[in-house]
Point group: C2
Chain length 394, copies 2
């Protein structure tokens, strides 16, 4: 790995907004080092480069926003004076963190599913330990202004999933995100129990009310961003950040979301990536569950109510066995129609003769006698002084 490549990607992550398709395509076509030189006007380019980028963008459904190389250069130019990749890398080093690029061993392989939209690099605070694969990661996301119901459900889910060895991915925000990170740290199943993916630079922990929590996440897990230190968490970057949350996990679960919510955006990213999406139901009176119900209604999400159902989405092949039928089976399950009718006809306190039962149940005497034998064997009927009654357990 050349230092040039690393420096170039550090610089490009400041030059380009996340998901700048033209910039990402340029990196794909000529590599990061030459991409930076072209983007900063140090290297000329010919018409074949433009053709290659156009083709790549068309393959990725993004040619509509491609204004041509000259326009792109003009767009990138204003930020060139701000580029200082060595300083950014030094900042991360000072904070005990690092910056990783796709060729690094620590690079999370599941991000490749983003295709052209894979980030240029990741700015990372936390343990120098590889992140778990998508199959062992669950994203829990939701409203900042979560209710006590949302807090309690998120806590239960994150803790139980962590105990089952899942890593909890979220966005480090107030509300559902914070509850998810906190409970995952408490559950601490995997060596990386939780990952916070930030919309702004990881040099500061934002929002400030979550500073202690995010410090704990960095100490025991990982705090990541695709934008360099000092970057503001703009609305646009929040939306782009959501695709990273969705891509890191195999399942995205929306615990609480209003009708319009950033969490739904994360769910849509997950769907686009072919990842499973779950949503937790709640009161129809709660505005904070309206987004979840919308996802479920519109078929964008599976209704999930506990950690077992989420684990099932993460490994649908059944690796994670869950209890599919809670609740006790009833004693009368599996009876034939005739035996069920006969059971209904049996008195609870007094006893009844076979003759009486034939009339009440509308069955022949033979059927009644045979049925009473079967119900007796099952402990559902008992005879007393020549008559029959229902057994206490029936």
């Amino acid at each position: 790995m050349s230092d040039n490549e690393r420096l170039a990607r550090a610089a490009l992550s400041r030059l380009l907004e996340p998901q700048d398709a033209a910039g990402l395509a340029l990196v794909r076509v000529v590599g990061a080092t030459d991409a930076l030189r072209i983007a900063t006007g140090q290297l000329a380019f010919g018409p074949e480069l433009e053709r290659d980028i156009t083709a790549l963008l068309a393959d990725n459904g993004g040619s509509g926003i491609w204004p041509g190389m000259t326009a792109a250069l003009k767009r990138w130019a204003p930020r060139i004076p701000d580029l200082a990749p060595e300083r950014d890398l030094a900042t991360m080093h000072r904070l005990g963190g690092r910056m990783i690029i796709p060729s690094d061993g620590l690079w999370p392989g599941q991000l490749a599913d983003l295709g052209l939209h894979e980030p240029i690099c990741l700015w990372w605070r936390g343990l120098e330990h590889e992140l778990p694969p998508a199959a062992k990661s669950v994203a829990l996301v939701g409203s900042r202004d979560s209710t006590s119901y949302g807090a309690s459900v998120t806590g239960d889910l994150a803790y139980s999933l962590a105990q089952r060895g899942f890593t909890i991915v979220s966005g480090g925000a107030y509300g559902i995100d914070a509850h998810a990170h906190r409970a995952a740290l408490a559950g601490a199943g995997d060596i990386v129990p939780t990952i916070a993916v930030m919309a702004g630079g990881v040099d500061r922990f934002y929002p400030s009310g979550n500073e202690d929590l995010l410090r704990a996440v960095a100490n025991q897990g990982a705090v990541l961003a695709e934008v360099p230190p000092g970057s503001a968490p703009t609305r646009y970057r929040f939306l782009q950040r959501n695709r990273l949350i969705a891509a890191l996990a195999s399942v995205t679960v929306v615990v609480e979301a209003r009708w319009r919510s950033g969490a739904l955006n994360t769910a849509h990213h997950a769907e686009t990536l072919g990842r499973a999406v779950g949503a937790v139901p709640g009161s129809v009176h709660s505005a904070n569950s309206a987004g979840c119900h919308r996802l479920i209604r519109e078929g964008g999400a599976v209704c999930v109510t506990d950690a077992g159902e989420i684990a099932e989405l993460a490994s649908p092949s059944g690796e994670s066995l869950v209890d599919l039928v809670p609740g006790q089976p009833a004693a009368h399950d599996g009876l034939t129609l005739e035996d069920l009718i006969l059971l209904d006809a049996l008195p609870l306190r007094s006893t009844s003769s076979v003759e009486k039962l034939t009339s009440v149940a509308g069955l022949s005497a033979d059927s009644v006698r045979a049925g009473l034998g079967r119900l007796g064997l099952l402990g559902l009927a008992e005879s007393e002084r020549g008559g029959w009654k229902r057994a206490r357990k029936a």
Copy 2:
């Protein structure tokens, strides 16, 4: 209509348990009058009758339970002495009710969808007024031990649906059923605001705690059963009764149900009939919502949260227009990517120059100027002393 046919059906409804497939097939093949004579041994039958019944049952997927005519006769024999159709009709008359048969004008046409399993007759207390078609009827069903949440949601739904002109069909039981009937009476949209379909005879209002309510349902709506006066509401009859609830309405909505619940059985009947099924979500901590979540998860039901969504299921062609997008659109909806980035870059309090914005937003000066123009027109950006800031509404 011959009195013989009416008397024969009255007698057959006592002789045969609901959904006695052999008996129903016999009625289909030879008509009710001869069916009663054969079933009571007054008329002989030949092998061709047995062949016809076997074929009819096979067509209806029920040949597995057909033990042959001789066995059926033996099964029916014990109840022959109890038959007293004149007495049963007189009882209904005394109660101000009636008994109707499929050839009557009052017969609900939607019951024909039950095919072979259409009831032989209906014992009816209530207004002598035809019932609304399925498209104007919604079944609301659920737990007997409903929670305050279930009570409140059922009340809201039944009342709103009644006000929209829907008739509410339910089972007259405690809990969700009772709340549904009560709110429908209050909403009183249709001339028949609510229908209670009973598992036992309509001569008495069962359960006794609902006596006043059911009397009100009979006075303003209808209380129906397929079993004759004096019949006990056995477990088997509850399960068969559920198919009538499902068949009378175009939508069956389960408001609250435990993991195992009779309401789920009604939902399955509705599904089998090709009727729409809805389920109301609730707290994942509530055992009374577990059955609803199960239905939604397993694809047996659509998640429904208000009367509008239920009305939509009743007339999916859009006859009943509902507000599809609650919530206010955000001011920044529909912005292009560049304008969204630019909006994010605009300061809230101080102002920023075009040059500064090119760097913060990573856009060319031309793009920034054009974007500021667009945002200004939308009222999202405003200029002040040569600089730009975000407008208050943005």
